[in-house]
Symmetry: C2
Amino acid sequence: MATVSRVVNNNPNVKPQTRKKVFEAIERLGYRPNAVARGLASKKTTTVGVVIPDISNAIFAEVARGVEDIANMYHYNIILCNADKRKEKEIRVINTLLEKQVDGLLFMGGNVTDEHIQAFKTSSVPIVLCGTTVDGDLLPAVDIDHEKAAQDAVKLLIDKGHRSIGMISGTLQDPNNGFARYNGYKKALEEAGIPFNEELVRVGNYRYESGIEAMRYFLGLEARPTAIFSATDEMAIGAIHAAQDGGLHVPEDISIISVDNSRMASMVRPLLSTVAQPMYDIGAVSMRLLTKLMNKENVDKGKITLMHEVIQRQSVAEV
Amino acid sequence: MATVSRVVNNNPNVKPQTRKKVFEAIERLGYRPNAVARGLASKKTTTVGVVIPDISNAIFAEVARGVEDIANMYHYNIILCNADKRKEKEIRVINTLLEKQVDGLLFMGGNVTDEHIQAFKTSSVPIVLCGTTVDGDLLPAVDIDHEKAAQDAVKLLIDKGHRSIGMISGTLQDPNNGFARYNGYKKALEEAGIPFNEELVRVGNYRYESGIEAMRYFLGLEARPTAIFSATDEMAIGAIHAAQDGGLHVPEDISIISVDNSRMASMVRPLLSTVAQPMYDIGAVSMRLLTKLMNKENVDKGKITLMHEVIQRQSVAEV
DNA sequence: CTGTTAGCGCATTCAC
DNA sequence: GTGAATGCGCTAACAG
């Protein structure tokens, strides 16, 4: 029995002949190791839990690929849990994952509240945040600098001569994709000496329809902005279509830029200018960090910030 | 100890007072039940494995939502495993899930080969196919009638007067989204007495870029078709853009219809006509079926076919 | 190199 | 209604 265990776990202390015989028996009997029993005995499940805020969001799907590739590379299995963008569900899922004795936890995106912190604190296994951060150095995290990304996007608009720039924001309660990008927008304006105008920002919900709604609002303004910065690609595409539906040409009549560089940014006419988040890398790097943590290796504390890059395509023109 | 177990498992044979005391102790000690040990002892994990062929495909994301909602309703957890559209990985993932002692398995989309069947056969827990089927009654499955869906789409084109209709197909090796839709296309032509022309079908890979490539091909034909049927929305959108990039107007110069009705179909100009697959329902129904199977309830054998519906939007016009 | 032993943390008998 | 005993299938330490 112990020998079988050794064979199954690739322990070298088995005579090749015996190993062969065991494999044959395994084959013959159709034996399949029971991962649950193994997990109980070894106190390791070689499984990491990944909570993903919204499975239907293409951004997270790409991050998940990065996570997975690295996880496979280090022979970890992944339990992906969708949290439907609901906080209670996020908390519940975290607890379920911990009960299932995952060896580590990756928390993707979303807003990390005190309740989350509370749940994380009860964990005896390492946790890393992925595509989000939290104030202080409470938890290791890998993300981009959302504020700077937004600022760079708006700066491009300004460099092209735009002075009246609207913003389609995410909810300001969301510290990363929402508030940080809003702040980046304000900073860019400030730096260029352009007064901030509350009327030029419209809060959406990240989705296509709210991009449409926002653009309709801008079109109705007596002083319509010449350029729009959108917090996400999807809203930007909605904005483009609303502008076109209103008889405008993009970018001749109005320029549009956003943040994400999701696949969709190249699936629209005109092609969308946007600032690229290295989504795959965010996933890969955070998973690599988690493997180190699970392996009790020493790692530098604190957040890892990955570089973004503004991608110029067709939706922005000189004013 | 047994009493704690009873409390945690909601066994009624506990005095309310004792129950309360146990809960207090649980709270005070921060006790968290170990799902692994529980699984070993009870031989149930209240977990179902879901293998999803491609996490970055919006279609599957929507199906997954349906799966999840029902799973939660019946108090099952879900392990989502992405298989990256690679057969070996699918097989590997199935085995991993089985080793982890899931109570049931949902296999989503993808091509079910003999190797799959072989892997499924070793399972002692129920398995249902979701968004795919297999010949014979080997496995319970829920899906739409892909062939009929394609046929209906093409029929709409024909009803609008089109006689020269191109098709952007998926790979014909794929029995569902590929071959079945191709057959539906041929059937519709046949029924209308339109001769089938090999030159008017172009095989793509379901992605946007291959839609572009296919449309470029059609645009280069001396006898350019007046309408295109695409096997997926994403390729259809590529086709629309390629047509527009080539100076054509959709639908005035060329009509386009596809199958899927993904969210993207409403995120393009003109709005894409397409036949809707009830994706959420496919997920929900298959999960419900699985719960019955896991519960050893009697269910009707065989496949469940859900209804599709052709959605007329803007991308199709009379010839 | 191989077999024996003792848990892993729980659910499930069975007594009381 | 509660506690004590047994074992789920495996790994880990130990002895040989």
